[in-house]
């Protein structure tokens, strides 16, 4: 939910238009949203027929990221990146006031409410408010815990102090100035930091491997739903050194696995040029290159594809005549040959001209090409877009999705809940652990197998059955957004943040994977665990002997298994404080209490529904 005011939103649109961006004001208008705050609405019926309709385009050069900020080099020096770097950059940037080129946008990011109170995440709510959250997913999954925030704050303060010590002309921003201050004052500053972090976390977008997360003016005006109309698009795989989406001349200094051929060859060129170079070495390198030229034309062409700028043998491909043998290569140059080269050059020139014309023609018709500060072209790959994927009617609010989040995540990250959130899920991890602890004798064998390998086997088993849900595109469909947006695909199936090497999946702890969904149905793993626990000694031995083939056993219906599930759910329901009348709190004038009530009632309803479903099966 956007905290931006209507007036500020208009300033943001103006900022976009004066910073090489495009805001589709023919189709869009900004109005008050039913959800509170403002939202983006359709000015007319829009039906994206052949291709998605472009609503917002902003060059990556215009977004606000740590890499673009005034303190980019300081953050680099202290190895800070990701979300924390963005927050620190934001705080420093704010201190430059009107001198920041993002000033008009940054000042619309507010972290105080109308009464000038900080807008804080649940981890900094009052004790009594926090106690109302007892038993909620939010409490259970640790979102009331403040440790991570505290350590981020410490890192930020240390950064500010370090930089100030290196150069006193880099002042410590107020938020980080905690030297010789009273505890009360430090806590005040800390709360400001958290409110700012909260505001930024609720607005940032994951851009690419160079910028990482960043603020995208305008893109953050769209409100959240789990059935979004729009999609945030950004080319994620860019050069990590310069941010270029196309070919660039950066070379990673340590030979990485990727594009080995390319790197190697270029590195060897470097060797060639070093003075005092060992003769023998030199010869080898040259021989090596010769080989590539003559024997591996494919590799060569691949090379020039990638390395667009100025490689040794760059244009060789375009020289059409085959020149394979040494004899040919060393034939004397004559006038005839020169005229041939001239003719080829002329042809190339014509071709380029033609291509340029075509491109211009193309761009007029199809793609919107932005212009940079110097009047040069900025191609779509160098931009972030919001595009419309689904039909909207005139006057309808246009929604994005922040991800398929349950209410606890929505509340702790974005400060709102969806009363009937269909992405809700209730975790039974703690209850399973309790079961294990209280019935040591009965279940020790089952849990031993489950924890040592059963969980992973079953996970793989279900994933296979799902036909590898996360083969990229499928995954996107699943989550309704193909953006590379923050947490866009946080499901276990996707391996999360994408920091792991491709193909390697990060497997979450099993206790995080035993859930029931918003319809009250247990997920497959949860049922499999219950089924496993329901096996008697004999059945278990039989199962363990034949486990590789017999995993199917853990998916078939069995009333004993449902009984165990019922026990877990009953315990889960008892986690809440039964003394609290949440129905009454729904009408509370306190905004936070109302949100808490909505969240907890929804969770309890799901558990109750689940228990009802089960009673039919037991």
């Amino acid at each position: 939910m956007s905290n931006t005011s209507l007036e500020d939103a208009k300033k943001v649109i103006h900022w976009i238009q004066t910073n090489q961006g495009f805001w589709n004001s023919d189709l869009l208008e900004i109005k008050e949203s039913k959800l509170g705050g403002i939202g983006v609405f359709a000015k007319k019926d829009i039906e994206p027929t052949l291709k998605p309709e472009l609503l917002l385009r902003l060059p990556k050069d215009s977004i606000f990221s740590a890499k673009k900020s005034s303190i980019a080099n300081l953050l680099y020096e202290e190895n800070l990146d990701g979300a924390l770097a963005l927050i620190i950059a934001f705080i420093y940037e704010n201190h430059f006031g009107e001198n920041s080129p993002w000033f008009e946008y940054l000042k619309t990011i507010i972290y105080k409410d109308q009464d000038n109170e900080l807008i804080l995440p649940p981890s900094l709510w009052t004790k009594s408010q926090k106690s109302l959250l007892k038993g909620s997913e939010l409490e259970i999954l640790g979102s009331l815990d403040d440790e991570e925030n505290k350590s981020a704050y410490e890192t930020a303060c240390t950064f500010a102090l370090n930089q100030n010590e290196i150069s006193s002309s880099i002042p410590i921003p107020w938020e980080f100035d905690i030297q010789d201050k009273e505890d009360q004052e430090i806590f005040e500053k800390y709360k400001n930091f958290i409110a700012i972090s909260h505001a930024i976390a609720s607005r940032d977008f994951e851009i690419d491997s160079f910028h990482q997360v960043a603020m995208v003016p305008g893109a953050d005006l769209f409100n959240h739903t789990n059935k979004p109309h729009v999609r945030f698009e950004s080319v994620f795989d860019v050069c990590e050194m310069c941010g270029s989406a196309g070919p660039c001349d950066c070379i990673e200094s340590e030979g990485e696995e990727d594009d080995e051929d390319m790197d190697d060859e270029e590195m060897s060129e470097e060797d060639d040029n070093e003075e005092g170079e060992d003769e023998e070495d030199n010869d080898n390198e040259e021989e090596g290159e010769g080989n590539i030229q003559e024997q591996d034309p494919e590799e060569l062409s691949e090379h020039s594809d990638h390395e667009h700028s100025d490689h040794d043998h760059d244009d060789e491909e375009s020289d059409s005549e085959p020149e394979d043998s040494d004899v040919e290569e060393n034939r004397p140059i004559d006038e005839q040959m020169i005229s041939k080269i001239e003719a080829a050059l002329e042809l190339e020139k014509q071709e380029e001209l033609k291509q340029k014309k075509e491109q211009e023609h193309d761009s007029e018709n199809k793609e919107m090409i932005m212009e940079n500060d110097a009047g040069g072209k900025i191609f779509p790959d160098e931009c972030c877009d919001i595009v419309l994927m689904k039909k909207v009617s005139k006057g309808e609010e246009i929604f994005n999705t922040y991800g398929d989040f349950n209410n606890s995540i929505l509340l702790s990250k974005y400060g709102f809940v969806i009363p009937d959130n269909s992405d809700e899920s209730i975790n039974l991890g703690l209850e399973c652990l309790k079961l294990k602890k209280t019935n040591k004798k009965l279940y020790s064998k089952q849990f031993e197998w489950w924890e040592s390998k059963g969980y992973e086997l079953m996970r793989e088993f279900f994933n296979l059955k799902k036909n590898n849900c996360c083969d990229d595109e499928d995954c996107d469909d699943d989550h309704g957004n193909d953006d590379h947006k923050d947490d866009g695909c946080k499901d276990a199936c996707c391996g999360g943040e994408g920091e792991l090497p491709e193909g390697v999946e990060e497997i979450p702890n099993w206790t995080l994977e035993v859930n029931i969904d918003s319809t009250g149905e247990p997920n497959q793993l949860t049922y499999a665990l219950c089924k496993l626990l329901s096996l008697n000694k004999l059945e278990l031995n039989k199962f363990l002997k034949n486990q590789e083939k017999g995993l199917q056993v853990l998916t078939t219906n069995n009333s004993k298994a449902f009984k165990i599930l019922k026990e877990l759910l009953t315990w889960r329901l008892n986690q809440y404080d039964s003394e609290i009348k949440y129905e009454k709190l729904l009408k509370s004038k306190n905004y936070r209490e109302k949100l808490i009530a909505q969240l907890i009632i929804h969770e309890q309803n799901i558990i109750k529904k689940s228990l009802q479903n089960i009673s039919k099966k037991v």
Binding site: K68, E270, D314, D315, D319
Partner: protein, 371 residues
């Protein structure tokens, strides 16, 4: 036993030692010897190589007769053959094949180098030498001298100082200095055009000494016929740089330099070129930071002691827009209006800024009064 001299391939993107006997026949007719490793080296570089060939019957010619020049300055070929740098002089990595690999390898993801005291000492030495070279070349500016003759002066003065002229073969740039006349904004290639009375010309000197680059430039008036407009654009550019330098100290954002420059340019009815930026310098010819010269730019980074970089505003009498000649180097104003540039190499100190490329009382050129 006789040792034959080492022969290097004449292809600017190769430059390797070669035993080949493959020679350019056109050069031979002109009494030049250009040896290529093989036909591939020759073909790849023909377009560039032929710029040194004479045209029969004429002393000089315009290589781009079909090009829509924006002003009156024309390219005047043939260029002179590549000048030789003696073997004992340390060369940057791109000297043979044009690729500054060390720049490609250097991490550009936000790092701005901070130089140690020893590095600063070396950088200062290089800057002092570059200033000497600039002053020598500037003293020779007079109507009738060609920019190629200025290149020869710069080249010889540079190698006399055991230095490599940094522009030479940097991305295959064929000369040892950039000479930018009138509407040429920057990166002009020294050629056969004689300077005329009333021209303005910028000399952009860079050299590589003992592992460190230096970079500086100034715009000079040629002869006595100074137009009011030429004086305005040159003096405005000079003042823009001076104001920008005064603004530099630790804690200042790089992007704010552009605000200062554009403000002063506008006050004098001039515009600021946006395509070319100042840059970090030291072990590398060009590195972070980028210093854009126009207002409200988004160059990242903040100044800290030990950083060395250039500020080099290009100020146009007309529109800020630029286009390139077909040589892919020469940048000219899109409307053909005059353009002037000044560049200093700066060191951020604990308390402010030190101009490493400062003029001295003997330096040629200098400010004139507006008329």
């Amino acid at each position: 036993m006789t040792t034959s001299p080492v022969i290097y391939c004449a292809a600017p993107d190769c430059g390797k030692e070669t035993t080949s006997s493959l020679k350019c026949p056109v050069c031979l007719k002109q009494g030049l010897t250009s040896v290529f490793c093989d036909q591939s080296c020759f073909k790849r570089n023909w377009a560039l190589h032929k710029s040194i060939h004479n045209k029969p019957g004429v002393e000089r010619y315009d290589p781009f007769p079909e090009f829509n020049y924006t002003g009156k300055v024309r390219a005047q070929y043939p260029l002179t053959p590549k000048r030789i740098v003696p073997d004992h002089i340390a060369k940057p990595d791109y000297s043979a094949n044009g690729q500054p690999i060390s720049e490609h390898v250097s991490d550009r993801s936000g790092k701005i180098p901070i130089n140690s005291e020893d590095e600063i000492k070396q950088i200062k030495k290089a800057a002092t030498l570059a200033r000497e070279v600039l002053d020598i070349a500037a003293a020779s500016i007079k109507p009738g001298i060609t920019t190629d003759e200025l290149d020869e002066i710069v080249h010889n003065a540079t190698i006399e100082r055991d230095s490599y002229p940094s522009p030479l073969n940097y991305y295959n740039f064929s000369k040892s200095v950039c000479t930018s006349v009138n509407e040429v904004i920057c990166h002009g290639i020294p050629d056969k055009r004689p300077l005329e009375d009333g021209d303005i010309v910028n000399l952009d000197i860079s050299l590589y000494h003992n592992g460190y680059h230096a970079d500086m430039n100034e715009t000079y008036y040629v002869g006595e016929k100074l137009s009011k407009q030429a004086i305005n654009v040159v003096e405005t550019a000079r003042e823009c740089l001076d104001l920008a330098i005064k603004h530099c100290k630790p804690g200042v954002t790089f992007r704010s330099v552009g605000d200062i420059i554009e403000k002063h340019a506008k006050q004098n009815n001039c515009s600021v070129v946006r395509t070319y930026v100042g840059h970090g310098i030291g072990k590398l010819f060009h590195c972070a930071p980028q210093v854009a010269h126009y207002a409200r730019n988004k160059s990242p980074g903040i100044m800290k002691p030990g950083m060395v970089f250039t500020i080099e505003p290009m100020i146009n009498a007309g529109s800020y827009k630029d286009i390139s000649w077909p040589d892919d180097w020469t940048a000219v104003t899109a409307d053909g209006s005059l353009s002037a540039q000044f560049e200093h190499e700066l060191l951020i100190t604990e308390t402010g800024v030190e101009v490493l490329s400062a003029r001295n009382e003997k330096s040629a050129g200098g400010a004139v009064k507006r008329i």
